[in-house]
């Protein structure tokens, strides 16, 4: 049986599950936490569906805003222990990842280690998901200049950390390639 509400929600999940799922997987090293957050995001969207914007761009920003808010709240609650466990599980699981995925996960772990959740969310939304400073300002409630400053500092920290870690990433990638 169809209902406009049901159809609308299904369409929303179909349309945004992948990008929001990607964003959340980039925000935390724990897949189980990211999965929880994805469920939470759509649950909140479901509850707040009366506020769902019709404009696709506004809808996108609204959903990313919910996902970011849920992720920051969860990370503030001290779920980092789960992240560490997830990293440990991945290292000890013996499951070989393809080189591209290994590199992506190493980069994600570097991101998690280097940037605070707040800065991480800005960095990922800007550089991976294409939000500009103005859109991020609207999404986060900061001023555009504050967003730019934070993005600049976050970028500098990421590049510095990347320089330090590049060798390790290359080593992990080579290891994955050997076992792929």
């Amino acid at each position: 049986m169809h209902s406009p509400i049901n159809d609308g929600m299904e369409a929303l999940v179909r349309r945004w599950e992948r990008p929001i799922g990607l964003f959340l997987a980039q925000m935390t090293s724990s897949r189980s936490l990211a999965e929880d957050l994805l469920q939470d995001t759509f649950l909140v969207a479901w509850r707040e569906r009366a506020r769902l914007p019709e404009d696709p761009d506004a809808q996108r920003a609204w959903l990313y805003g919910i996902a970011r808010h849920r992720a920051l709240a969860a990370l503030r609650r001290g779920r980092r222990g789960r992240e560490a466990l997830a990293r440990l599980a991945r290292r000890t699981s013996g499951i070989a990842e393809d080189p591209q995925t290994a590199r992506a996960l190493a980069m994600r772990d570097l991101l998690v280690r280097t940037l605070s959740p707040e800065d991480r969310s800005l960095f990922v939304l800007r550089h991976v998901h294409g939000f500009d400073a103005t859109a991020l300002a609207e999404l986060t409630g900061m001023t555009p200049s504050a967003v730019r400053k934070r993005l600049q500092r976050a970028g500098e920290r990421m590049l510095a950390a990347h320089d330090r870690i590049e060798m390790t990433i290359e080593r992990k990638t080579a290891h994955a390639r050997a076992h792929a």
Binding site: P19, W46, H127
Partner: protein, 239 residues
């Protein structure tokens, strides 16, 4: 090799991050395969037996373990050959149907289960003989008593049940963990709340809404979400 500009290096980091495998929505575990005709008939037969046994028990005022005891091994045997321990059935939920009739959930351990799994048996002691779909279902992953091997909300299973007025409901039972309340958020914006007993709940969802996508949320005593699952609609699935 020329040194790359910071913007280009940031772009490369972003490209690497794009290959992080995204997470997906967890699928609900409700079984949605159409029930084969032969198996359906068997369930109906078992239900009829159980209802008859229960009717006798009710008539004599002995609403005890006998009906679920008789029921347990038959229900468990319907799936994957496992058997339930009929001498060890426990009442975990005492509820009411939307008609106000008694309905219960019993659990019985499965033989050979290393994880402490139980079969959950839903009994409607005064079922209308016309509502033959109603009577029993089971959740193979159900946790036994305080055993926490069953994931919260994940083992939900149900049976279609029809009220005296002909309204169809889905009766659902699942492991509730430490939840103080289970809230179904239905497609029309309404909610149905169940209060778990002994870490399990039994609730009745209007069938037309149960067929549509909905969310099930477990809340602790303070109102915090401790588990949730999205249940895709079944109304438009083939078969």
């Amino acid at each position: 090799m020329p040194e790359l500009m910071p913007e280009e290096r940031l772009r490369q980091i972003a490209v690497a991050l794009e290959a992080v495998p995204p997470v997906r929505m967890r699928p609900a575990r409700r079984e949605r395969r159409p029930r084969p005709f032969a198996r359906r008939r068997l369930v109906v037969a078992v239900v009829a037996l159980a209802v008859a046994a229960a009717g006798t028990a009710t008539a004599t005022g002995l609403l005890d373990h006998e009906a679920p005891k008789a029921f347990a091994p038959k229900v468990a045997n319907l799936r994957d050959g496992r058997t339930a321990d009929q001498h060890n059935v426990t009442l975990v939920v005492d509820a009411k149907t939307p008609d106000g009739r008694p309905a219960q959930v019993w659990v019985s351990p499965l033989h050979g289960s290393a994880t402490g799994s139980c079969v959950a048996i839903v009994m409607d002691y005064s079922a209308d003989p016309k509502s033959k779909d109603w009577g029993s279902r089971f959740a193979p992953g159900a946790a036994c008593g305080s055993d926490r091997s069953g994931a919260v909300l994940a083992d939900a299973d149900g049976s279609r049940w029809v009220s005296h007025e002909g309204k169809a409901f889905m009766a659902e039972t699942a492991n509730a963990g430490d939840a103080a309340r289970i809230v179904y958020h239905l497609a029309d914006g309404t909610t149905v709340t169940a209060v778990p007993q002994h870490e399990r709940y039994l609730t009745f969802i209007p069938y037309s809404l149960w067929e549509q996508a909905h969310w099930v949320v477990a809340l602790d005593a303070a109102g915090h979400e401790i588990a949730m699952r999205k249940v895709p609609g079944t109304a438009n699935l083939p078969g």
